[in-house]
Symmetry: C2
Subunit: 334 residues, 2 copies
């Protein structure tokens, strides 16, 4: 690989290159721990998802945080595997909840096997993830990750009840986003610092980094749903509108709407009565109130917060890559 | 209540009377911890199940074990609430997996709300249960209960793949039974001894007690499906046969079948092609091979094992009640 390619490659790819050995150890651990002597369905379902290869951002956050804090032991592998197990379990359950048919370009487990297997294998992975944490011997790590697991479930329940609900506030939106993405990003980063035993200000900075990174990422995603380039994002414009999701651009537009506009949102989002031309009108209202710009500037601010949090941490190649990652998640909207 | 009524009441009712104050503290803790500021759906769904009032055998096992081992702190309340949360979470997920419509005489949560809420609220309760365990400060307790949670999920996955599968062995049956009942009974009893800090032989005896109690209970239940009195059990005879479940009486009958009998089981259980008179013929085969008697004697042996395990524990009113409970679960088949 030429130097030129290396510097132009994506930060999560460069993180994966630097953390190559650690990631290989985590993969071995995952394969070892997802096994079940008695129920072969479990590794089948898990492997389907694990082998599909996500970007492994969450385990890398744990590995990078631990390494840049000078950690030399092996518990960061256990924690990175834990974080990936929790993530995989939530994906399995999400696909049941959302009745999804595709994940990472492949049919979902609930489609290939059944909802039952997805629910139960998810539960198994949750339980195994706690077992892995217990092996680190750190109650603090267990506390942080069980909190994250509760926040994830809470955020998803909130998303259920907030869907198609015009009274959804920005505060609720943020809680949903933390549940979807930021809570596990925050916990994954924080536990790396905890096992390295760095000072509290640094542990807290890692948590802030993960939280802000997750929020920036999700806001950018929600923005792109209304202005993205289909060729780049692979998503159709307006999917969230059609699915009646209250994301930030719409929440802000609803808050600024006059009575006529409000009845438009009421009909299309709350009642779900959508007709030809409604997406165009929704876009028009969103543009008129400048809510895409506001969403963009909030996402950029979260990204900036993620980067500045890193400043209290030791100078390190991995710290720089984590900062690059914070730039990268908003590069698509800058 | 007269003395006479008291001695004739059921052992779990007498346990509940003796543990009244502890149970009230556990109830308070459950109510406090199932709350979610942001997602009111969570306590709604949980309360629906908790208020329906199961027998609370699992939390009572923890409370009784801790008390009879002389425990004086407050962690037994946390652990009893943990055990009830894990149990409630598995019930929520089970009802989704089994597409159940009734639980404890009321419509199931998946019917009243939806499958999504049942999956996610179950996840929330799992996460909260780990948080409660962390508060006890005992990594050993976390290890025991995360193992139990994995065994539960593993047993249920195994049950999925074992259903309608004639190659199901008694060994697989036992693993399914441990997943359904015995693993949480065992862990609930064991952690009571662990927090009381009694010697290892006593901790192990408590675990053996819970495991054997759970197995005896489940075997009795499976037996009653083929010979129970509908008026007493509230279950229809032959439900397991109609649902093509491989329980012990059938597994043993299949193992002893001649080719003609085997093709009967193949047609009715494996292919699910059931006709009028098939249940009667199944009962006939079961009787012919004496598998109900064998199942009964195994259940009685497990119950006896549960009782004898208690002998290494201190003499105590609660120990006697636990022994009575072991008698009670097989009284229906004795």
């Amino acid at each position: 690989m030429s130097l030129d390619t290396e510097t132009s490659s994506k930060p999560h790819e460069r993180l994966a290159a630097v953390l190559q050995d650690d990631l290989a150890a985590v993969d071995r651990l995952i394969r070892e721990r997802m096994a079940s002597e008695t129920a072969p369905r479990i590794p089948e379902v898990t492997a389907h998802l694990v082998n599909a290869g996500g970007k492994r951002v969450r385990p890398m956050l744990t590995l990078a945080s631990a390494r840049l804090c000078g950690y030399e032991g092996e518990n960061h592998h256990r924690l990175a595997a834990t974080v990936e197990f929790i993530h995989t379990a939530t994906l399995l359950h999400d696909d049941v909840v959302d009745e999804s048919r595709q994940r990472r370009g492949r049919p979902t487990a609930n489609l290939l096997w059944d909802n039952k297997s997805s629910v139960l294998v998810g539960d198994y992975l949750f339980a195994r993830s706690f077992k892995l944490m217990v092996e680190t011997g750190s109650l603090r790590v267990l506390d942080i990750l069980s909190d994250a697991a509760a926040t994830i479930a809470e955020g998803e329940v909130l998303q259920l009840t907030a869907a198609a609900n015009l009274s959804t506030t920005e505060d609720i939106y943020l809680k949903v986003v933390r549940g979807k993405t930021a809570a596990l990003f925050a916990a994954a980063s924080e536990v790396g610092g905890v096992i390295a035993g760095v000072e509290e200000a640094q542990v807290s900075a890692l948590r802030t980094y993960g939280d802000a990174l997750g929020i920036a990422f999700q806001m950018a995603d929600d923005l792109l749903d209304y202005e993205g380039d289909v060729a780049l994002t692979g998503k159709n414009l307006g999917d969230d509108f059609r699915e009646r999701k209250l994301t930030l651009p719409v929440i802000k537009a609803v808050a600024r709407s006059d009575p006529e506009e409000r009845s438009f949102w009421k009909r299309t989002i709350e009642k779900g009565d959508q007709r030809d031309g409604d997406l165009a009108q929704a876009m028009d209202l969103i543009r008129r109130h400048g809510t895409l710009e506001d969403t963009r500037s909030e996402a950029l601010a979260w990204s900036a917060q993620a980067k500045s949090a890193l400043e209290v941490l030791p100078e390190h190649e991995l710290r720089d890559l984590m900062a690059d990652l914070a730039d990268y998640v908003v590069a698509r909207i800058s």
